[in-house]
């Protein structure tokens, strides 16, 4: 039993509501991503789960046990920090077994578990080094090793990949996800990178100003954004939002085509060639809109083009509340499931 449940949890810094009435559940053995822009309260939420901050209101339970007022150690969790928080004066081996030594695990068992974990994270040949002698990716692995050697059922990660370069980030993303599934850990993973959220998560909780904006599977967040904020946050490039009367119409860039005699006149502002596809940045009626095209697009900057999209790909949002307008969604869903 290692499901994590937050119910109506709040944390205030003076008058600032860092976390405001947040309720969520991470199912046992699943990976839940807390996603959001900086300052949205996702890290504070993680620290509340870890017990590094105490909640001002609400309750937190891990594996059915109310841990709201327990210390971090009593919660039996492991955590990877954004800075890795490696002890700079201790060797890699000592860093990894730190928690085992605290709990007075016997030397023989310590060595055996260290060997196993070092194999898993691929550090067997570096155990004697100090953290300062390691590359960023290797330090990340040490932090990971320290988190999994405890064999805690719950692992918390605070932007663990943000200090790595793009290639390593991609590698570690896959590795962390594989490790989480292999060890069956319940993981809460904080990131501001929606790609990480989309690729790794079983469930994504998108936060904004201390509140939950949307809680759902990556697919739901992508295909059925509950608010215009979610629509703007998810996807590279994100969903286009075009003002039409009192509502915002959202269309994914990949659903827009450039066709002669299309419904909307647009002017090309810029083109990004990504190789497999191209993003064409246009303007219609003074509003920016991005179009994703397969392959190497031949359109030119400054060119006047006509674009079109199918009505079933439209998402509607109220322009004042930014909430999703359901009638459009239903049509969209029907259209999507019919072919």
């Amino acid at each position: 039993m290692s499901a994590i449940t937050l119910s109506h949890v709040s944390k205030f810094w003076g008058t600032m509501r860092a976390v405001d009435d947040v309720s969520l559940t991470a199912d046992e053995g699943s990976l839940l991503v807390l996603l959001g822009p900086s300052g949205c309260g996702k890290s504070t939420t993680l620290r509340l789960i870890a017990g590094l901050e105490e909640a001002d209101a609400g309750s937190i339970s891990i594996g059915g046990v109310d841990v709201t007022h327990l210390s971090p150690a009593q919660r039996k969790i492991s955590m990877v920090f954004q800075s890795y928080a490696l002890f700079p004066h201790l060797s890699v081996a000592e860093n990894i077994v730190f928690g085992l030594r605290v709990r007075r695990v016997s030397r023989a068992e310590r060595d055996e578990r260290l060997k196993r974990v070092a194999d898993i994270v691929g550090l067997s040949h570096l155990l004697e080094r100090k953290p300062s002698q390691l590359s960023g990716g290797q330090r990340q692995r040490v932090a990971l090793g320290r988190a999994i050697i405890a064999e805690a059922r719950v692992c918390l990660m605070d932007e663990p990949l943000s200090n790595l370069d793009a290639k390593l980030r991609h590698e570690m993303r896959t590795e962390i996800r594989a490790l989480q599934q292999r060890l069956g850990m319940t993981m809460v993973y904080v990131t501001h990178d929606q790609t990480e959220a989309m690729t790794m998560a079983d469930r994504v909780v998108l936060m904004r100003d201390g509140r939950i904006e949307q809680n759902g599977s990556p697919e739901e967040l992508y295909n059925r954004p509950a608010t215009a904020f979610t629509a703007r946050f998810i996807g590279t490039p994100p969903m286009n939002l075009v003002r039409r009367g009192d509502r915002l119409i959202g269309i994914r860039p990949e659903h827009i085509r450039i066709v002669a005699g299309g419904d909307h006149a647009a002017r090309v502002k810029a083109i990004e060639h990504l190789g497999a596809d191209s993003i064409v940045w246009c303007e219609i009626d003074g509003q920016p809109i991005s179009v994703r095209l397969d392959g190497f697009s031949k359109v030119l900057r400054g060119e006047d083009i006509r674009i079109a999209w199918n009505a079933e790909h439209e998402h509607g949002f109220d322009s004042t509340t930014e909430a999703r307008l359901e009638n459009i969604v239903k049509e969209g869903r029907l259209a999507a499931s019919s072919p």
Binding site: L52, P72, I77, F81, P88, F98, R146
Partner: protein, 306 residues
Amino acid sequence: MTDTAASLPISERRTQSQAWWNTVNAWLLLLPAAVLLVAFTHWPILATIRHSLFITRRNGTEVYVGLDSYQAMAADPIFWKALVNNFWFALGTIPTSITLALIMAIWVNRNMRGRGFLRLAYFTPTVLPMIAVANIWLFFYTPDYGALDQLRGLFGLGGWNWLGDPSTVMGCLIVMVIWKEAGFFMIFYLAALQQLSPDLEEAAAIEGASRWYTFRRITFPLLMPTTLFVAINAVINSFKLVDHLVIMTKGGPNNASTLLLYYIYEVAFTFQDSSYAATLTVVLLMLLSVIALIKFGYLDRRIHYQ
């Protein structure tokens, strides 16, 4: 191929002359510091060592006497008294002031009301001029109407001549110096503590380490560079104390509070025996060099520097 072969000797010559200029530049940049160091540190040391091997006649001529001054020193009971005093003084002040400094630093490193005021209060002894400090403590220790004796009076105890009694004078000086140095050392510890990432403590807390365990295995080892720095300073200070002695005890009673540097000062400027003072200075220099060697040769290698 021919192009590179032809250009190679030229570029080599160029790099050679460039390297030469680099060296000259480097030495020129070092020169000001080197001149100061040689003129005010190295040369005086050599001059002192030389001076300790000569005695100066009344007419100003120098006579080579070899190690005679050192033999005289070995037979000088006041020198030994000063050396032993200095040893006890160092032992009394260094560990206590460092421990106190560390405790105070950890105490004021937390988020609490009046933190700035507390930090300032601890640092005040360092800011005060040493003559003023000595006078304040002179008032504490004055027999009968001093602060300490008035306190004793409340319990019906009689007056005590704190600085006039050989058995208490050293203790009184030690207490004063601890009071003065702990606040100064605290600043260094405070700066070092603020360099430590709070993540480390949190990571340890998540692993279930108690506060004491975290201090013992994480905080204290990471503060070792500061501890070493502070310890070296404390040792040097314990051999450097002169001004308080001049104001408070003049080394008395019966040389019970004479420290090495104060004795050197007395020999040089009261007894006007500059060659014997040079001899004593060489001993002091050797003592401090040994400490420095231990620091650089042994301790530095065992300490983790960030």
